[in-house]
């Protein structure tokens, strides 16, 4: 649920509760005040009647006029009538209908006889007043509520804009990217603080990442010299004496291991370089020609394993670094050969939008979301597990998409341009 929606919901419920609550109180208070007013009017009437009785020694004439009605009745000596106010309905003679009224009943002594006097006043006016006041108040409150909702909807969205801006930037944040997070300035303190925090964080993360990368870079570089020494010493060693075949085998194993190590190192350096975007020199490459040239280079290996190569190459030009294009095709092809079996098949299809390399293999499907990770490899694989990681990085660099799929016992690698 969006913050604004949540906020709206809470304010709406709270407002309605408060509104009902205050409405009830409001109604009761106004009602009480107006009833008090009526009661005072009735008391004045009582005083007038009492004064009349005192002056003239008789009751004034009973009757109904305007919104007021007075009636008398004789009461027996032993009965007691308490003075009280009460609500009742009475017949309004001028309006010719029954109306709600407020009455005062009390007793008066005239010539030794006790009379009960009932004075009734119409409540219609005060009821109307209460209703009108209540309605006006209600409509004002509802109007206020609607305004509040509208303000929330439009103003809040506007106020939150910088937040969504920074959210978008954070979603698009890429460690390897060169551009930093750019923030639109805002006058709201909280967002300024958030922006500052995000910028500081991204800078710190990038700094750490850079240091880590430069560490890898330096470590790989520093390893090259000792490797060169090992290699040259081995080269010198085999010139010196005669060796037995078994000693020769040992030396060859060392050579192979050193070769692997230096290739691994170079691959790591290459990865770091691609990630750092240090590859320049783009040129237009005839991809179909490059693939033909590469397949010629791999001809001997293909023949050795008697692998049948099917190619379907349409003319396709791409803009990229020659060395990286070389490396990409090399990796895809050598993988297809290495993981193939004798008398297997490799198919290369190139059209304007895709390059698809598929091969038969005794290996089962690879884990699709791990296949491009560094050092992911099949237990049986002799490779280093960096080839596909590099290929993927190369594709990322040029915004190509490299995908893996396993269908009909074949491994498919697809580069979408």
């Amino acid at each position: 649920m969006k913050l604004a929606a949540k906020y709206n919901r809470v304010t709406l419920i709270a407002s309605i509760i408060v509104l009902i609550f205050t409405g009830v109180i409001y109604y009761a208070v106004i009602h009480y005040i107006l009833t008090g007013q009526l009661d005072r009017d009735l008391a004045i009437e009582e005083d007038e009647i009492t004064a009349y009785v005192k002056t003239y020694g008789k009751l004034p004439q009973a009757g109904s006029f305007k919104e007021q009605k007075v009636s008398y009745s004789l009461i027996e000596a032993n009965r007691n009538v308490e003075r009280r106010y009460f609500n009742n309905d009475y017949f309004n003679e001028s309006e010719q209908k029954v109306e709600p009224g407020r009455s005062l009943i009390y007793t008066v002594q005239v010539n030794g006889k006790r009379h009960s006097v009932t004075v009734t006043k119409s409540r219609v006016e005060s009821e109307d007043l209460v209703r009108i006041i209540f309605l006006i108040t209600l409509s004002v409150t509802i109007l206020l509520l609607i305004t509040l909702l509208l303000i929330n909807r439009f103003i809040l969205n506007n106020i939150w804009k910088p937040f969504y801006g920074i959210l978008l930037q954070m979603k698009a944040f890429n460690l390897a990217d060169k551009n930093d997070i750019r923030i639109e300035s805002t006058k709201i303190d909280e967002f300024t603080e958030l922006n500052a925090a995000v910028i500081t964080m991204s800078l710190r993360v990038k700094q750490d990442y850079r240091e880590l990368k430069s560490f890898t870079d330096n470590a790989s570089h520093e390893m090259m010299t000792p490797l060169a020494v090992i290699n040259s010493k081995l080269d010198t060693l085999i010139q010196t004496e005669t060796f037995s075949d078994s000693q020769g085998e040992l030396i060859e194993d060392i050579y192979v291991a050193v070769g692997k190590l230096s290739r691994l190192n170079q691959s790591l350096l290459m990865l770091a370089k691609i990630e750092n975007n240090l590859i320049g020199d783009q040129e237009t490459i005839e991809l179909d020609n490059l693939i033909r040239q590469k397949t010629r280079q791999f001809q001997e290996l293909l023949q050795l394993h008697n692998i049948n190569l099917k190619t379907e190459l349409a003319n396709k030009q791409i803009n990229m670094n020659k060395h990286l294009a070389d490396m990409l095709i090399n990796n895809l092809l050598s993988n297809a050969i290495r993981h193939n079996y004798k008398d297997g098949e490799i198919s290369i299809q190139l059209n304007d939008s895709q390059l698809i390399v598929s091969n038969t293999s005794s290996d089962t499907a690879l884990i699709a979301d791990k296949v491009f990770e560094r050092f992911y490899k099949n237990a049986a694989s002799e490779g280093m597990g960096l080839g596909l990681a590099i290929s993927n990085q190369i594709c990322n660099l040029y915004h190509f998409k490299l995908n893996y799929a396993y269908q009909n016992l074949r491994h498919f690698f697809t580069v979408s341009f």
């Binding site: 570089h221 090259m224 010299t225 490797l227 060169a228 020494v229 090992i230 290699n231 040259s232 010493k233 081995l234 080269d235 010198t236 085999i238 010139q239 005669t242 060796f243 037995s244 075949d245 000693q247 020769g248 085998e249 030396i251 060859e252 050579y255 192979v256 050193v258 070769g259 692997k260 230096s262 290739r263 170079q266 350096l269 290459m270 370089k273 240090l278 590859i279 320049g280 020199d281 280079q297 001997e300 290996l301 050795l304 670094n321 060395h323 070389d326 490396m327 090399n330 050598s334 290495r338 002799e382 490779g383």
Partner: protein, 225 residues
């Protein structure tokens, strides 16, 4: 040939000197930027082997210095920096070749030999080893007067062998020379055997002595008999 080796790593320096110092090659060394600049300015060399990361300065500056005073010395950069930019910079500045560490000494020797041949004979492109004559321009091989047809790989192999004659050359060095260093080469060892077998057969059939010897399973040696 007279060679100047500018390299600060002493073990590597020793190995290279040992490999190069025979049959009248003179190999001098410089261990830092300053001594390198001095030697380059005073003497002439057939080939200068230049490491880029040196104590006291950047090897590229030495290269600039050499080209500034218009020296004809061949320059081969040997560097741990496997960077395309460095490679291009070096070659643009006038270096003749660029070799990335770690390398095989036989590869270094072959490259130096090629540079020196191009530099010193000025147009003459003939390599001669006893009865074998190779025209590097036309890429043709003759045994005595018999022309020999070789495949590209066999030809490369022969030139490589002659540049490193009397040395044991390992199979990995040969594989790297023939197929480049980007692929995993253990697959290629079988092919080396085939190529060498074919080359040997062709040479002998054309009347050449059998100079190629297999050495303890590690590699081969091309040796005068």
């Amino acid at each position: 040939m007279k060679i100047l080796l500018i390299e600060d790593e002493s073990s590597l320096r020793e190995s290279i000197i040992t490999y190069f110092t025979d049959e009248g090659n003179i190999c001098e060394t410089a261990v830092d930027y300053k001594s390198a600049i001095e030697k380059v300015n005073i003497y002439n060399y057939d080939c200068i082997l230049l490491d880029l990361t040196l104590p006291g300065g950047d090897g590229m500056e030495i290269l600039r210095g050499i080209k500034k005073i218009k020296k004809k010395d061949g320059v081969l950069i040997i560097s741990a920096r496997h960077s395309l930019d460095d490679k291009l910079d070096g070659l643009n500045l006038g270096a003749d070749d660029y070799l990335v560490k770690p390398f095989h000494l036989s590869e270094l020797k072959a490259r130096v030999t090629a540079i020196v041949r191009r530099k010193s004979y000025d147009g003459s492109n003939i390599i001669t080893f006893n009865e074998i004559h190779i025209d590097t321009q036309a890429m043709s091989v003759k045994i005595g007067d018999n022309a020999l047809t070789l495949t590209r790989k066999e030809y490369d192999l022969l030139v490589y062998f002659i540049a490193n004659h009397s040395k044991v050359i390992t199979k990995s060095a040969i594989a790297e020379h023939l197929w480049g260093d980007e692929m995993d080469l253990s697959d290629h060892f079988d092919f080396i055997y085939t190529h060498i077998k074919n080359l040997r057969k062709k040479l002998i059939e054309a009347g050449c002595k059998d100079y190629i010897k297999s050495m303890y399973g590690v590699g081969y040696k091309f040796e005068n008999i």
